[in-house]
Symmetry: C2
Subunit: 278 residues, 2 copies
Amino acid sequence: MPAGMTTPQPFSFPDDQIATFRAFADRLADAAREAILPHFRTRGLDIENKSKAAFDPVTEADRGAERAMRALIEATYPDHGIEGEEFGVKPSVSGWSWVLDPVDGTRAFVAGLPLWGTLIGLTWQSRPVIGIIDQAYLGERFRGWPGGAEVEDRHGVRPLRVRPCADLREAVAATTDVHLFTPSEAGGFEMVRRTAPITRYGCDCYAYAMAASGFVDLVIESGLKPHDVAGLIPVVEGAGGLVTNWRGGPAWRGGQVIAAGDPRPHEQALVVLRRAAD
Amino acid sequence: MPAGMTTPQPFSFPDDQIATFRAFADRLADAAREAILPHFRTRGLDIENKSKAAFDPVTEADRGAERAMRALIEATYPDHGIEGEEFGVKPSVSGWSWVLDPVDGTRAFVAGLPLWGTLIGLTWQSRPVIGIIDQAYLGERFRGWPGGAEVEDRHGVRPLRVRPCADLREAVAATTDVHLFTPSEAGGFEMVRRTAPITRYGCDCYAYAMAASGFVDLVIESGLKPHDVAGLIPVVEGAGGLVTNWRGGPAWRGGQVIAAGDPRPHEQALVVLRRAAD
């Protein structure tokens, strides 16, 4: 492994504990689907601005799903913490916390595009252990845990596996919106964009699901919150990929994030991204 | 209607002729689905470069679907022309031509993203009359014809209708990739991007389907070919929207294209886009 990169945390939890939490994470995702789907592609979506500085649509879907998930967690694991995008932080007294982003990609949601997703992460002392990326409209659920990852969709359940990619010059890259980058971040991304033969935009969390599935080689973003990454890190890592910040360090705090299926284009991208790293 | 804009062509074809051609367009879309779906999200996709100048993936899906559609047309309407993205032009001897883009959005296809689509247009003396945007993986088919448009999806068949949008400052805008614009085109688009509260990227033909569905207000692109637009113009117009070039003239030749659900943000965008118009 190249210098400066971190090894994923060596978690060692009892298998039955992981199995129990994985099953519970699915219950959360089911509850979120039920709350969100009736609001997708309905007219007269109630969009509020959370902040006047940046346009950030919040829908009934977002709030309803977080409410439903929080209620389940509080009823089942009262000693677990909760960090939700909509309703803030409940501290953990056990070390475990559920980190929730009910609708990641609210702009895609508003535009009718089925690339938003529900992100559910279970963290142990802030480090993501179990994650789900759920696309309710497509009926696709991507799951990750220590040592594995799988997708459940219309074809059933299959293991997830990243694909090899020897060089950035062969990579499919993705980001959500180049205009979200600062000028120096944009400078770093520009090298990647001009080197990789395909770059896709507007994917939000779905890009990480496609990285875990072996169709996207690099995902590069900045300005992420912990709730943007906790759900997806276990999925990409469980599929054999890596998720780091732009210095090659841990990504669970969010900020500048790069996910890759193969360490080779990851390291090539870091050569320039490091110069724009916080 | 503002000066300089064109009224859509006043087509008057017998209803039963339109009905017959609409049913046949569905047969083409069915054949394309069958040829394409087995290749979506399979590993080891056979990507060839059609041109060394630009990276343009061509898949077996693309070619297989066009072959299947051409065979059906030649067997059923030997006097109709065919303009396909993959296998070129067969001149029309009747005035009618089928304009085919089997996989619009090949980059999305390669990245596993379900926003590519099959575009099928029937033109009369080069003007699009009937159109289909088919998203095979989602099972969504958007149809347009003189005077109407509808979508068929998991929920059944519903009419398509654009939504009102009084001002560019309230619009959801979309384009495929800002890097496809020339510098002067990018300058024009930049005003739209900075004025509209939401801009989405990477949608290809699916953005037009969302405009016809009333979730996207403006789609702005350049460098389009006739086969990129023939299938989608009848869908957007049939849903009550408009599709023009950046001068407000007809869009069926492709090039710089703007689609809108409401003429007001369309006209506001043209104020700046006209300066970059060919």
